[in-house]
């Protein structure tokens, strides 16, 4: 694993701030706050993975089943696609502006990627407890 230092944290926080900026601008510029649902969906996306990974038993116990983990992956993937699809669907039906849809979708993707990268770099400290 690549050693991540202070610069990584600063860079990641910058990118996260840019994603917040994009999402909030996409709402505020047109004073139509529906694209904020994209941010909500992306924020909820890691939750099924997290919950379902706790539901599974020990790897070598008799009642081990990969069903909950698979279900978590399935739902997480659904959330991610929904986060991208929602702004485009809203823009297609003319509820929000086309530019707002793009900004909201890109902001959501960038924010989610930032969080994933962060947890990839700093997962060791979290695993301790």
């Amino acid at each position: 694993m690549v050693q991540a230092g202070l610069k990584t944290i600063i860079l990641l926080s910058f990118v996260l701030a840019i994603s917040f900026l994009l999402v909030i601008l996409s709402c505020a510029l047109w004073s139509n706050w529906l694209p904020l649902f994209t941010a909500l969906i992306f924020a909820l996306a890691p939750l099924p993975n997290f919950i379902c990974s706790r539901c599974v038993g020990d790897d070598f116990s008799a009642e081990y089943s990969s069903g909950p983990v698979d279900f978590g992956h399935f739902v997480t993937s659904m959330f991610l696609v929904s986060g991208v699809a929602l702004p485009f669907v809203l823009a297609h039906s003319g509820v929000i502006a086309e530019m707002a849809g793009w900004m909201s979708a890109i902001g959501g993707i960038v924010g989610y990627a930032t969080i994933i990268t962060y947890s990839h770099f700093f997962a060791i400290q979290i695993q301790d407890y």
């Binding site: 990969s66 698979d70 992956h73 399935f74 739902v75 997480t76 993937s77 659904m78 959330f79 991610l80 696609v81 929904s82 699809a85 929602l86 485009f88 669907v89 809203l90 297609h92 039906s93 003319g94 509820v95």
Partner: protein, 197 residues
């Protein structure tokens, strides 16, 4: 002859075709990847349909003030039924324990021998049939809705055809998602059994 054909059969003597499918190896996280892909397909299918529904709800009246003014057709509950059927079928198909399907294949005592194991396999196959019937029915229903509701009526400018097409795309995508999930579930135990449908 036999010497010429021997190198072709070197990999697997049970092979039928000369050109085999390339073995795509996605690594140890193949199952995870396939499950993610299946979920993505499922969501894409439903969002195609939701796009149609939202577009229909926000559709503007047509330009020409003819007989079909305002909007001639809307997405109604009849458009929802194929997707719901497909989703139910997908849930049923993927809830079946795959090992129950083949539980009595080995000893030849299949199809109603009277033993308990045969009963389980029989019921598993019945549920599998129901699930696939629901999925196929969803797809057929979506094509029916497309043709009867959107293509046949003489709406100006083929109004609303894209909503029907979105419905068909939704059914096909949910079916693909179910297939990918099935493959993912049987991927981890390649060495135990090969499911042949």
């Amino acid at each position: 002859m036999s010497t010429a054909s021997r190198p072709l059969r070197r990999t697997d003597p049970r092979r039928v075709c000369l050109i085999s499918l390339p073995k795509v190896s996605l690594g140890p996280r193949k199952r995870e990847f396939l499950v993610y892909f299946s979920g993505a397909l499922f969501a894409i299918g439903w969002w195609f349909f939701l796009d149609a529904a939202i577009s229909s709800a926000h559709a503007t009246p047509l330009d020409d003030p003819g007989a079909y003014d305002p909007v001639p057709v809307h997405v109604t509950f009849s458009d929802w039924t194929p997707g719901i059927c497909s989703t139910l079928g997908m849930i049923i198909v993927n809830l079946i324990d795959k090992q129950q399907l083949l539980s009595d294949d080995g000893d030849g005592a299949s199809w109603g021998e009277g033993s308990w194991g045969g009963g389980v396999a029989w019921r598993a196959r019945l549920f599998l049939f129901l699930g696939f019937a629901l999925m196929a029915g969803g797809m057929a229903g979506s094509v029916t809705v497309l043709v009867i509701k959107y293509v046949l009526p003489p709406y100006p400018g083929s109004f609303g055809v894209e909503w029907g097409v979105a419905n068909v795309i939704q059914s096909i995508t949910i079916m693909l998602s179910a297939i990918v999930l099935w493959v993912a579930q049987s991927a981890e135990s390649d060495y135990e059994y090969n499911l042949t449908l």
